[in-house]
């Protein structure tokens, strides 16, 4: 309990004092996770729509695979990306290991299956509802995909939030491919792991609270934005 109190005081001090070291870590956490979610959205949302609307050989296998990959252990993904990016690996020449780019890659791999699987789920029910209308109007496949993504836009925001939650909370993968290097690849979760390992429990808890506030704030902002958008834009 004593440690918890100290943690709250410490967290308040960190936030209110706008501790520059903390701000740096928060900024990098947001940058890495938002980049990963953006890339996963650009690739994953269209793929989810394709799986929902088009019929092609291998589709069922892909759906099963994507659903299974939702549970990928971050440490395993980290290890896999590490092997790809390490000096002796196939992409070693790019020199990305222990950079924020490597962390973005790892988190994108973790977030993609979530985005694809949940988008597929959501857009499948929309497609079922509108399939006959689309065929009646003679829509081409590309138009069907675009329409599904636009009709599902409010639900897809929640899908991306789920992906962001996975990314911002993840520690195993960014630790392995980022290395938790101060001022370069240290993010909230790896900093917490480090402080805990050092025995600085109060400091770790304080950082944990900041992370919670951060995740909560992002969700709140998106929820408010979504509500306003739905009111304005024909929910």
């Amino acid at each position: 309990m004593d440690e918890l109190t100290t943690a709250f005081v410490g967290a308040a001090a960190l936030i209110l004092g706008a501790d520059p070291a903390l701000l740096e870590i928060v900024a990098l956490s947001l940058l890495v996770s938002l980049s990963a979610v953006t890339i996963a959205a650009l690739l994953g949302l269209p793929l989810g729509a394709v799986l929902a609307a088009l019929r092609f050989p291998g589709r069922r296998v892909m759906i099963v695979a994507v659903n299974a990959l939702m549970g990928l252990p971050p440490v395993v993904v980290g290890l896999f990306i590490y092997l790809l990016l390490s000096n002796s690996g196939p992409l070693g020449a790019l020199g990305l290991l222990y950079t924020p780019s490597a962390m973005v890659i790892a988190q994108t791999v973790l977030v993609m299956p979530i985005v694809v699987a949940l988008a597929h789920e959501l857009l499948s029910s929309l497609h079922e509802e509108y399939d006959e209308l689309f065929r009646s109007l003679g829509l081409r496949p590309a138009a069907v995909l675009a329409t599904l993504l636009w009709e599902g836009r409010f639900g897809l925001v929640t899908v991306l939030l789920a992906g962001f939650g996975r990314a911002i909370a993840e520690v195993g993968a960014v630790m392995i491919v980022g290395g938790n290097i101060a001022h370069l690849t240290r993010v909230m979760t790896t900093a917490i792991a480090l402080e805990t390992a050092k025995g600085e429990i109060a400091q770790a808890l304080a950082l944990g609270l900041v992370l919670l506030v951060l995740a909560f704030t992002v969700n709140l902002l998106v929820a408010l934005f979504r509500q306003a958008a739905m009111r304005l834009a024909y929910g």
Partner: protein, 242 residues
């Protein structure tokens, strides 16, 4: 009018449709020609909706023939039809956005598109609702938009699948009034219903479907006064008192 050849008269010969191994349409033959309103009447499960969907290309027949003014079904035939579903199936956008959505695949010139939009909004008294979110409208208004979305395509044949089944009497009358005007302006209506009273109000010709077979095909005046089959007689006699 849209470019291309007329698709009527339609000749259907021995059409067979199976869904999930069950025969839903059994050697259906019929003719649709000229103007007016043809009502496909029959009890639930008679295959009415399946017939409509087959004529619209949404269901593939296992056997039989459809000749649209001598041609088989294809994209050009589809583009001269429009279908109104039992549910409005409006998209999450404005009323006019829904109409634009239907027109876009037709690739019309901008001027022609604007002309059609303005005309249909005026004709359906939808101008005041044009910018409202379509899915926020009442059921009757939504079905009116769905009908406008079909007619903005200026179809030669308008297919309607129980379009008033989930509407109250007042909204039903509004839709029926619009349908009468549409038929009078030269679009052939093919209306599927199990509502005998509605069939009486709208039909010029009746196709009576029962158990996947066409039992009668007759002018409305003949069908309603002297049904030729026991099934049709029972269907008319079973009409609920109004």
């Amino acid at each position: 009018m849209a470019l291309g050849q007329p698709i009527l008269p339609l000749e259907v010969r021995d059409l067979m449709v199976e869904i999930g191994g069950r025969r839903v349409l059994d050697r259906v033959s019929l003719t649709i020609a000229g103007q007016g309103t043809t009502v496909v009447l029959g009890p639930n499960g008679a295959g009415k909706s399946v017939l409509l969907r087959t004529l619209h290309g949404l269901v593939k027949p296992v056997a039989g023939e459809m000749r649209w003014n001598g041609r088989p079904f294809g994209p050009d035939v589809l583009s001269r039809q429009a279908l109104v579903f039992q549910r409005p199936l409006l998209l999450r956008r404005s009323v006019v956005g829904n109409l634009v959505f239907a027109l876009r695949p037709r690739g019309l010139a901008r001027g022609e598109r604007q002309r059609r939009l303005a005309a249909i909004l005026a004709r359906f008294a939808l101008e005041a609702l044009a910018d409202r979110p379509a899915r926020g409208l009442s059921g009757g208004e939504q079905q009116r938009v769905a009908l406008a979305r079909a007619l903005v395509l200026e179809p030669e044949l308008l297919l309607l699948d129980e379009p008033t089944a989930s509407l109250d009497p007042a909204a039903t009358l509004v839709i029926e009034d619009l349908l009468r005007r549409t038929a009078a302006e030269g679009t052939h209506l093919l209306l599927v219903t199990h509502d005998v009273a509605q069939a009486r109000r709208l039909a010029d010709r009746v196709i009576f479907l029962h158990g996947g077979r066409v039992l009668e095909e007759a002018p409305a005046s003949v069908f309603f006064t002297r049904p030729a089959t026991r099934e049709a007689f029972l269907c008319l006699a079973g009409e609920l008192p109004t």
